[in-house]
Amino acid sequence: MTISAALDGSKRSRSGRFGRMVEDRLPYLIVAPAILILLLVGLFPLIYSLIVSFQHITMTDNDTSFVGFMNYAELFKDARLWASLGHTAIITAIALPLELLIGFLMAQLFIERMPGRQLFVALLVLPTVISPIVAGATWRLMFDVRFGPIGEILSFFAGEPVRILWTVNPYFVYPAIIICEVWQWSPFMFLLLLAALSNVDQSQLEAAELDGASYFRVLRAIVLPAIAPVIAVACLIRGLDLVRIFDIIWALTEGGPGSMTETISLYTYVQGFSQFETSYTAAIAFLVIALLTVITTLVLKRMELAR
């Protein structure tokens, strides 16, 4: 730092009543712009749509009179809504454990030093940073029944031509979505678990090895408890992402065939932007927020634990 800068600073810090006032209120002044934007873009629209959710606005009907809880009552009778929540739950319940398991196995493989390890890790994380819409598009090309390589590879192993309409056939749409999802996000789990595993106390591991403890005993008694907080954080971050899954499915199946792979995010989108059920969509949005608030609270508690 230059002397002139320091002098300049000292002059300003002691100059006048205005300077003092700014200095005293600085903590609030520098928080204000960020909070203002968050309120403007985050909170204000939410309040607005809360009001809308108690009205009955559709594309054709611009009536702003209040209808009470009608839209919310409607939610309970909406079979397609509950089906979409079910689809979301299925994808989350299958993809999350798979990602965790694959990520853990990958981390185990790379935990000990080996030449070229850095390069492998750098390459393996690439899927995670790709835009999910690109990931979906890529797998759509991969799965293509005529020009995609997957059918070709399967045919090679099966010894006969295998033709599967991955993104259309009801039996294969879920596997297709889950393969793409697991491909993109297992490396996320891998990275976090690799970091966690490297922080496990080495002296404990060595002591256990001297005592002749088996691999699984060491895993259960030392390794898993040590990395449990990271597993919790990783699962909760991924869990939240999976519950709001949209991009990959949009790129792969667009919710089809029919509405078979429609998740809650897709359904909300359809209601709001192709059916133009304005008030009803606002009600769905609040249902989603209510559901996720529960998970979010959990996440935050865990994150505080892991800090």
Partner: protein, 279 residues
Amino acid sequence: MRLGGVPSRKTRVLALRYLGAAALTLFFLFPVYWLFMISFKTPDEIYHVPPLWVPSHIQFSNYYVLFKDGDVWAIANSMIVAGVSSFFAIILGTLCAYSLARFNTGGDNLAMWIISQRMIPPIAVVFPIFLVYVYFGLVDGFFGLVLLYTAFNLPYVIWMMRGYIVDVPLELEESALVDGLSRWDVIWKVVFPMVRPGLVATSVFTFVFAWNDFIFALVLTRTEVITFPVQLTHYFGGQSNFWAKIAAMSVLGTLPIFVAVTMMQRYLVRGISLGAVKG
């Protein structure tokens, strides 16, 4: 060490690990490879049955078409929107983070509220935002998108930077204050340089999040300010003769991210785990 042709157990284990590593790399990178290869193929090669594993030669006509048809404007739009919003999010977010970290402004509640903003699913907020944007005429414009991505990334920046600032030794700032620097100068001349690596990493991830976003852009763009993920989905549907464009556009939208993230490798774990895991 053992003499003769029988490899030791250690060598065999290492060989197995390399085999596993190679298999994993094949699985996780093959789709990326495929995408790049399609972008270099001629239409005849793309629609060849059975699929060709390598194009006969590398040619860039698929990219040329993107430039000729003006589709690359979507990349430019993404650059502007992600760049400008990241800039604002970083400046405003870091200042806010400093206040939270050093003065504990608003206590734990404010910090919790801010990070909870990050957890709200985009689909739940995008609809209300859309209603408000329509009312104010902000749909399909740079201002609306930049404002949205700034707000969307602020909680992340605040949360991450709070972590980095807490790591700066308090004594440094105190001695600067004793030397007569104002608090404002301390922030810019002492704290910012100290957290610069974290700041750069956070900027990169902020940029990536805005760059990769699809759902906000899908709802809030029409024809003027289309970002690259939205442009990509325009090629879907109906005929498959847009494969060349899908692949080339995907590569253009992915390459910068690969470069940026590879440079930020050291900060990757902390960056994607919201600071919960310090890799």
